[in-house]
Symmetry: C2
Subunit: 156 residues, 2 copies
C-alpha cells in the first residue's frame, strides 16, 4: 500500500521502532527484531539505501532518511490502528491483536484504513459512557444470544 514490499515495510518499521528506543540502530538489533540473520539485514539495508530510504556508513549505524521515516511512520500507524481495532473494538487479547496487526498492516487500503480509524475513534469517544454497542456486542460474543433491546429506545 506504499509501493514497497511487505519485507521492505517490515524493515522500515523495525528501524523506526528501534530508533524510538535506542540512540543508534545496529544491524544486530534489526536482525533480532525481525528474526532474520545479519546478512539479510545488510542486504535489505543496501537495497533500501539505494532507494533513498536509509543511510549507513560502512560498519556504522543505520538511520532512516526523511523519506524513509515518513514511510516507516505510516506503516507503524497502520499497525497501531489494527492493534487498537482488534483489542479495543473486537476485544481480542493484546498478543493476538499484535500478531494479526503485524501480518495485516501491509494489506490495508486507504479506504478501509479510514473506516477502521473511524470505528476506533467512535468507540473511544464514548468509552466513558460504557459504550452500549460494546456491552451488547460482548454479551453476544459470550452468550451467543442477542441481548434484549434497550427498553428506552427499542434499538439495538
Amino acid at each position: 500500500m506504499t509501493g514497497y514490499s511487505q519485507s521492505e515495510e517490515d524493515y522500515l518499521e523495525a528501524l523506526y521502532m528501534i530508533q524510538l528506543k535506542n540512540k543508534v540502530t545496529r544491524v544486530k538489533d534489526v536482525a533480532l527484531a525481525l528474526d532474520v540473520k545479519m546478512p539479510s539485514v545488510v542486504a535489505a539495508v543496501r537495497s533500501l539505501s539505494e532507494k533513498g530510504l536509509v543511510e549507513q556508513e560502512k560498519y556504522g549505524h543505520i538511520e532512516l532518511t526523511e523519506e524513509g521515516e515518513k514511510v516507516a511512520r505510516d506503516v507503524y500507524k497502520r499497525h497501531q490502528l489494527l492493534c487498537a481495532f482488534f483489542h479495543e473494538v473486537l476485544g481480542l487479547d493484546p498478543r493476538i491483536a499484535e500478531e494479526d496487526a503485524c501480518r495485516m498492516e501491509h494489506h490495508l487500503s486507504p479506504e478501509t484504513r479510514e473506516r477502521l480509524l473511524r470505528i476506533v475513534e467512535y468507540i473511544r469517544a464514548c468509552k466513558d459512557e460504557e459504550v452500549f454497542f460494546l456491552k451488547r456486542f460482548m454479551s453476544f460474543v459470550n452468550t451467543g444470544k442477542m441481548p434484549e433491546p434497550c427498553p428506552g429506545c427499542k434499538r439495538y
Copy 2:
C-alpha cells in the same frame, strides 16, 4: 493460517470458485482468474498435486481432492467473512471490500476470524431494527461529529 502459502491458498480458492461455476476446470481458466500465465499454473498444480490437494491427468482437467476442497472452502469462507465485514459493518464499497478481502484473507488468525464473524452476525441479527450502532457510526463517519446520546437510555 492453513499451513499453505498465500499463493497456494490463492490457487486453491480460484480452483474452488471455478468449480462452482464451470463443469470442468482448465489451466487457462485458472491463469485468467489469477492473472498469471499458464506455465505458472502448471507448476502450481503440480506442486499442489504432490501435496495431495489437487488431481489432474496430463493434458486433462484439474480437480480438487477432498482435502484440497476442504482447504479451499476454508479460504473462501475467510474471504466472504472479510467482505461481509468490510461492506456490511464498515459500510465500504463492495469493490474495495472485495479487494481488501483478497489480500487479507491469508492473514486472519482463528481468534480474529471468530470475532469478525460475531460482529457480522450481530449486525445482521438486528438489521431489521435499523441497528442503532450502525446508524450512529455512519453518522459519525459522515459528519465527523458524535451523535447525541439516545434520549431513552443515555447510552451511545
